[in-house]
């Protein structure tokens, strides 16, 4: 059940109505049932994994809190992390590591017989695993009181708006909200939630799904395509992945908001960043901050000199890349970004951020470095990425007219123009600043967004890119 499907809108309409008319003390139960139903609409059996993950963290954290022995507490945390990552490894990385082992054994002239077990990747496993790990670590560190109500803890793990593709919420933010039974339907929440949902829907179905048609066509037939078209397809992918993922996040935040629950921001116009550091502060914020708090800082952060900082950055980004998928392309993507960040940290500031012109040049450079990474991210193999890169480097001038005049892609281009216009005007919070604009302007934009969704939106389009992670 995708957010951009009519089934979801009907489902949410029912849940929204029941939620606000249900007795306050049972709302958590309604949300929990709705969340499990939502998740089971993909593959019912994988609800077992969420239940296992929930039970592991619930009981181990209770055990940690109940024990005064530091060693036992440490074992409890280690076991929680091991079991959670074990689930993730089994379902996401087993095939990849078996292939790797086969290559290593083969290189030494030995035989390695991989298991023929083929597991379907459970949707959202990387998201809820990281969410529960952060809970265990926070409880271990004493930053968070343990949750004793199993049902409410289960709701924290499985809260449907952010279950399958984030934002990866911290227990300290989400748990107190799902535990509250005095939430009232505020007009501001309803209005902003609805608007964020429409904004996210517009990004997904008008821009991302239309751009996807172009990207899929050209990346699938990359060997026949010229560098110019592949470069344009890469720009379109940058647009697609941003609108797909930030669109999902906006919809998730909007849905939660309509239920009176506030989720963290996940994107803050990242392509307007004039440094790599700034880009990573504004892109997939919930993952970036997770990696910073639970990996980069424990590794030593920037406290061990420039080389140590660079090493920590590289480690964090490579693991961040691997989090996205079991493929060398994601590892290289992470390494590339880690390398750019390290260079930037090493030389303090490489790119100027002051003055409109210089900032514009910096934004241009940062955007292209990010696009370089996207080539690996989007490609099926490293070989494909290198071929595409090679073609782009040996770019011959091409007639942009052919792309612009091809009306199969004009929808994405028009959608992108509306997006850039709105995001450039109202950075960070589209509808908070937006409310200050005059009424005619605001209503025109609402109508424009809804009409665009009806006329240009890809109906029954592809699922969200980040569901596969």
């Amino acid at each position: 059940m995708l957010f951009n499907s009519i089934e979801f809108i009907v489902f949410f309409g029912v849940i929204f109505t029941l939620y606000w008319i249900a007795p306050k003390k049972w709302r958590w139960l309604l949300l929990l049932i709705a969340s499990y139903f939502f998740y089971m609409s993909w593959e019912p059996i994988y609800i077992v994994l969420i239940l296992i993950s929930t039970a592991i963290d619930y009981f181990l954290c209770l055990h940690m809190t109940g024990s005064s022995d530091q060693r036992l507490r440490k074992y409890g945390l280690a076991l929680s992390i091991f079991l959670n990552l074990g689930l993730l490894f089994t379902f996401k990385y087993l095939g990849f590591f078996q292939d790797l082992m086969q290559h290593v054994f083969h290189a030494f002239g030995a035989e390695y017989h991989a298991s023929s077990l083929q597991l379907l990747l459970p949707v959202g496993i990387s998201f809820y695993t990281f969410q529960t790990i952060s809970y265990s670590i926070d409880v271990y560190r004493g930053n968070l009181p343990v949750e004793r109500h199993f049902g409410k803890f289960a709701l924290f793990v499985s809260f449907f708006p952010q279950l399958v593709a984030g934002p990866i919420e911290r227990a300290g933010d989400l748990l107190p909200q799902v535990k509250r039974d005095d939430i009232k339907l505020e007009s501001e929440d309803l209005r902003d939630g609805l608007l964020l949902f429409i904004w996210g829907l517009f990004k997904k179905v008008v821009v991302a799904d239309q751009a996807a048609m172009f990207v899929d066509t050209y990346y699938a037939s990359y060997s026949h395509q010229s560098g110019g078209f592949l470069l344009f397809a890469t720009y379109m992918f940058a647009l697609q992945i941003y609108c797909d993922f930030s669109g999902y996040s906006d919809m998730a935040i909007g849905i939660a908001r309509m239920l009176g629950i506030r989720l963290m921001d996940n994107f803050k116009t990242p392509y307007f960043s004039s440094s790599m550091t700034s880009f990573w502060r504004n892109w997939h914020i919930s993952l970036s901050t997770w990696l910073k708090d639970y990996l980069y800082i424990p590794l030593g952060g920037n406290k061990g000199g420039k080389f140590r900082t660079s090493l920590n950055l590289m480690t964090t980004m490579v693991l961040g890349g691997l989090w996205h998928g079991a493929n060398w392309t994601f590892i290289i993507w992470g390494a590339l970004n880690g390398f750019f960040l390290s260079i930037e940290k090493f030389f303090h500031r490489l790119l100027p951020e002051r003055g409109l012109f210089l900032k514009g040049i910096s934004m241009f450079i940062v955007f292209h470095l990010i696009c370089l990474g996207w080539i690996f991210f989007r490609s099926q193999s490293v070989g494909q990425a290198l071929t595409i890169l090679n073609k782009i480097i040996h770019l011959v001038p091409f007639d942009l007219y052919f792309i612009l005049a091809d009306n199969r892609f004009s929808g994405a281009i028009i959608g992108a123009l509306i997006l850039i216009f709105l995001e450039a005007q109202i950075p960070f919070q589209p509808f908070t600043a937006f409310r200050k604009k005059n009424v005619v302007y605001r209503y025109s934009i609402y109508i424009l967004l809804i009409t665009s969704v009806l006329l240009l939106g890809v109906s029954g389009g592809a699922q969200f890119i980040y569901f596969q992670f």
């Binding site: 499907s5 009519i6 089934e7 009907v10 339907l185 505020e186 007009s187 501001e188 309803l190 209005r191 609805l194 060997s223 026949h224 005049a405 009306n407 004009s410 929808g411 028009i414 209503y443 609402y446 109508i447 809804i450 009409t451 009806l454 006329l455 240009l456 939106g457 890809v458 109906s459 029954g460």
Partner: protein, 309 residues
């Protein structure tokens, strides 16, 4: 809260007004569209053409069969990437509009359409005819099969033009796809890359033995067959050739032949038939599409084989 609900209500009213107004505008645009994209050729056909023989299928018919080789009263309503579901719906529309061919229907069916994995593709092809949702009962019922709530989308007048609106607006500026002059045929001109592309596209992969048991494809095929039978139209199914077909294509073609024999339908399977001179690279754009010269030769071959009166 009251004020917010009022505002939401006002926005909703404006949206409904805009939807109806723009819907009316795009309906007019659609009705006068005769460009290739956004079903313009189909529209033109439904409004202006009466033919003896109709050619139907995907791009392998669109740029692979030349209607005029079959005679001046032969017309092609083929469309790139459209398969059996689309063909069944189009034929139903023609029946409704009284534009069925008077003698024969030559339809290209890819045997792979009968694989279960293509069922969703066949169904989704019907959605390209969403303009006719409330005009044609067959199209409406096929679209409604995709989801129990699909009808909700059609409460909007604009949604029937979803995906076509920009094309309808920009068609007059397009250089390609103007009013059909070749009875619906779209020739492909040769390019220096053709032979490279054709050789690269040859499918050498090894697949498990195919099973052609898609109930969706059978449902669409039977619909086409029943329309032809009811209107005394001769139905001839063909499968256009491939440049060096894969083993899987050959196997699929053989299974298809068995199925169509059971259905008492004439079938010309060019995957296995000797296509003589057409085996030369110069006739191909890629391994499943002809360039114009190839299409001309292939059409002559098909005309000879079908032996229409």
């Amino acid at each position: 809260m009251k004020q917010t609900l009022w505002k939401i209500g006002i926005v909703l009213l404006i949206v409904i007004g805009t939807d109806r107004g723009l819907g009316w505008y795009f309906d007019k645009k659609y009705a006068s569209n005769h460009f290739h994209y956004a079903n313009g050729h189909l529209n033109y056909y439904l409004q202006k053409v009466h033919c003896d023989t109709l050619l139907l299928g995907s791009s392998r018919v669109l740029d692979g069969l030349v209607p005029q080789v079959f005679g001046q009263r032969t017309y092609s309503i083929a469309e790139a990437s459209k398969h059996l579901g689309w063909c069944a719906a189009v034929l139903d529309l023609m029946q409704q509009y009284g534009r069925l061919p008077s003698k024969a229907l030559i339809i290209n069916i890819e045997p792979e359409d009968f694989l279960n994995e293509f069922a969703n593709k066949l169904k989704s092809d019907v959605h390209y005819l969403k303009y006719y949702y409330d005009k044609n009962p067959f199209i409406q019922s096929e679209i409604n099969r995709s989801s129990p709530f699909e009808w909700v989308k059609y409460l909007s007048s604009l949604y029937r033009h979803n995906g076509n609106s920009l094309i309808l607006l920009t068609n007059p500026w397009q250089q390609i796809g103007r009013l059909p002059t070749l009875n619906g045929y779209c020739p492909i001109s040769p390019t220096p890359q053709d032979s490279v592309r054709t050789l690269q596209d040859i499918d050498r992969a090894h697949y498990p033995k195919p099973v052609l048991n898609s109930s969706t494809a059978q449902h669409y095929f039977k619909h086409i067959k029943s329309i032809c039978k009811k209107n005394h139209i001769e139905l001839i199914v063909i499968t256009a050739p491939f440049f060096k077909p894969s083993q899987r294509s050959v196997e699929c073609g053989q299974l298809m032949a068995k199925y169509l024999a059971k259905e008492n339908t004439r079938y010309l399977n060019y995957i296995e038939k000797d296509i003589g001179e057409l085996n030369q690279l110069r006739f191909w754009f890629d391994n499943h599409h002809f360039v114009d010269a190839g299409a001309q030769k292939f059409s002559v071959l098909v005309k000879k084989d079908v032996q229409l009166p």
